[in-house]
Assembly symmetry: C2
Homo-oligomer: 331 residues x 2
């Protein structure tokens, strides 16, 4: 168990890395022309919150004995890549707001958002390809693998919208690509640049993918069982009929008229707002929250177990704390 002193030290380290990357990430698109293209990119990169992905990249480099500063370009690239996915996902999902401000395609228009996303991605590779030598080449391939998987995950997510027979196993496969693959790429890229052994790179990659799975399932859980915060209404996923871990778990456990009711929600595009409390009760009676909790713990434990392969104690310690921090949404 980390002591409170450890937690405070980790928090300071995280905050220092976050701040260093925050300014550089927004600056990535400044002083570039044409302004009409890059100004919306700066807008999309601003107010980026926790900057989890670049900080993870820097921490991964340190965890294997490398220097965080050597991974700075890669960290910026991964943050830019993440923000590119948000700009294009918001078009696909027709989302109007993100982080409390209008999405790029709402503030500008769809054509601009398509192109701005493309340019953000192009510039993210520019940063990534600054990393030299054989480590740079390996890191670039890991980065690219992350992008391919994110696209495939998004494709699966869209495919699931129109399918009636999605299993929990398929769902885990989808979020493994859509959400977890990018965190995996951050760990892998950082560890490669930091000069980690193959064992260390794979251990951190395993950590990343499992923590990403835990994080997404917890996100699904909080949609219905979390506090209403950040202006995000309770049950948003349910109202859209999104096939989340909760709904798929409930579908698996329910029978008779309960099952029929849930099938209507999944296949007819969602639940009415007034029905949310009753569905939450149904989920509780089916044991869905416990099911999700077990899944979060299982993937978190897998993530933590993979840290045993790291030789440096500070690396193990930082990544254990990172898991706590990411999964403790009240922090």
């Amino acid at each position: 168990m980390p002591t409170s002193t450890d937690v405070a030290a980790f928090d300071r380290r995280y905050e220092r890395l976050r701040k260093s990357i925050d300014a550089k990430a927004t600056a990535a698109y400044r002083r570039r022309k044409p302004v009409s293209l890059y100004e919306p990119a700066v807008y999309a990169m601003k107010g980026g919150g926790k900057r989890v992905r670049p900080v993870v990249t820097l921490l991964a480099a340190e965890a294997v004995g490398g220097r965080a500063e050597d991974a700075t370009d890669a960290a910026i690239a991964l943050e830019a890549l993440h923000n590119f996915t948000l700009v294009h996902d918001d078009i696909m999902d027709n989302s109007a707001m993100r982080r409390g401000v209008p999405t790029v395609h709402k503030k500008y228009d769809v054509a601009t958002a398509v192109l701005v996303g493309d340019a953000m991605l192009a510039v993210s590779y520019e940063f990534m390809l600054r990393v030299e030598g054989e480590r740079g080449a390996r890191a670039a391939r890991a980065f690219n693998r992350g992008l391919v998987e994110v696209c495939e995950g998004q494709g699966l997510d869209k495919e699931f919208e129109t399918r009636d027979d999605v299993t929990l196993r398929e769902y885990i496969g989808m979020i493994g690509k859509k959400t977890a693959a990018l965190l995996e790429a951050c760990c892998r890229v950082g560890a490669i640049i930091g000069g980690g052994t193959d064992g260390e790179v794979e251990a951190l990659a395993d950590y990343g993918v499992n923590l990403g799975l835990a994080f997404q399932i917890q996100d699904d859980y909080l949609d219905l069982f979390g506090d209403e915060k950040f202006g995000k209404p309770i049950g948003g996923d349910l109202r859209e009929g999104k096939k989340t871990y909760l709904l798929l778990s409930a579908l698996k456990r329910a029978a008779g008229s309960d099952k029929k009711r849930l099938e209507r929600i999944a296949h007819k595009g969602g639940a009415a707002k007034k029905d949310i409390p009753a569905i939450r009760k149904l989920y509780e009676s089916l044991g869905v929250p416990e099911d999700a909790g077990r899944a979060v713990r299982r993937y978190t434990n897998k993530a933590l177990a993979s840290l045993d392969a790291l030789s440096r104690e500070d690396g193990r310690e930082n990544f254990a704390q990172l898991a706590n921090r990411l999964l403790d949404r009240n922090a």
Copy 2:
């Protein structure tokens, strides 16, 4: 002057390379999952016509004494990159048809076309990053530079739509990025992988950018002064009020009521179909076709002159013939 025997030999070589790349380019997205993501990508890559960009890449490798087959992955990457730009450009321009079939966003939908384009780009980097060693790293950066410029060129093109003061010089800067940068990247990437000297790489890059400029200006010329073919109606650019080389040259040369008339076309979104013949006459009286013809010859000659830096005669010969072939649209 190339003899007809040379031309026939070049045509055979081009056709052989085109065929070899044609099948591989379409196969790039086959046997990948999810099918719902990659099937539209295969669709977008099909019927790709002349496959100019990958063939140029292969020829550039050969022109500096390398083997075309070493540049195959890069050539596929460049063709995929080109087709990615078409999928996203068609969304931005709201184009319904391409190469005689519905565009991706019309056949599927906008959300699918955004994501499919992203996945095509991701996979194009996958191919590009297969090239190993220091040459691979340099080639990947040249490839990336091409993508950044294409995005910036598209951004400028969009910006020009709403501006009243675009100069011919700015226009050349824009098409230098939007159209020519990709051909430049093909030349550069091929020459790097083929093991060309720095001088040879820069010479072929110069060739690519100048030929790209000549090609685009000729394309603008053919919109109004070419034969009506491929079902493309005469004066399409003029009807949209696109600020092409012709319109900008005419604006520069016209005065009085002629100038006012052209300004209305440029600033109010185009000309009526019935006015096209009269505007063509006006252009002729202003000397616009000759102006465009001189520009095409100037950039073509610059392209050809840069070939002098190549040490291999077959390299110079092939690229001279390539210029003839690309600029002779009746071929």
